[in-house]
Symmetry: C2
């Protein structure tokens, strides 16, 4: 089964910020050797949107897509908006497995990373 | 010198999301043994705001405060808004050292954490 990863970020009016997401997606592409591809999508303010990115992967033959919410807080974007956008595509492609994992902020590694970050001020 | 950590998050209309930040701040409090305290502030939509949180720390005797932006993207919040709010307090307290470290999304550890997260879908 060809599995693809889709990194979903909020999107910003600031192009440099969206560019950071694209760079991150490229970095992940090198690391993620178990995936056929790593691409990105934005919830708002930047392109591509989530449905467009999912459809593009499906049309390229993706059988499984792992949606990774690049969000820290389980706000309405994570709880309502991303699932709704994913669902809008899933219903037309019941044969494709689309799995959304928890948001980044839920990871156990976050506190240690913040501590390391704060340490930069020493 | 007594050093305190202030975790700064965006803030959400969803109380559960703000609560996650408070829980994270408590976890950091246990881990961050080099700091006199770890507290939190929100840029918008929740209390306390950044200036209030900074002033509270200063009034309690903080000599150094490390501001940790709990943000993934260097959007305008990170680039303009947080520095402006920090500056609004710093100018009245030149004797207190307030250092803002880079935002979480700039950390090298993020791609590996995302890969681990995506792996939950396997």
């Amino acid at each position: 089964m060809t599995t693809h990863m889709l990194l979903v970020a909020h999107g910003s009016r600031r192009e440099k910020s969206n560019h950071e997401v694209k760079i991150l997606s490229s970095k992940l592409g090198f690391l993620a050797t178990d995936y056929a591809s790593v691409s990105y999508a934005f919830l708002e303010l930047a392109e591509p949107g989530i449905p467009d990115a999912l459809r593009k992967l499906i049309h390229s033959g993706a059988e499984k897509i792992v949606v990774v919410p690049y969000f820290l807080a389980a706000g309405r974007h994570v709880v309502d908006d991303i699932p709704a956008e994913v669902e809008s595509v899933r219903k037309d492609h019941p044969d494709v497995k689309i799995v959304t994992v928890p948001h980044l902020g839920s990871m156990d590694g976050i506190p240690r990373l913040l501590l390391q970050l704060a340490g930069l001020a020493h």
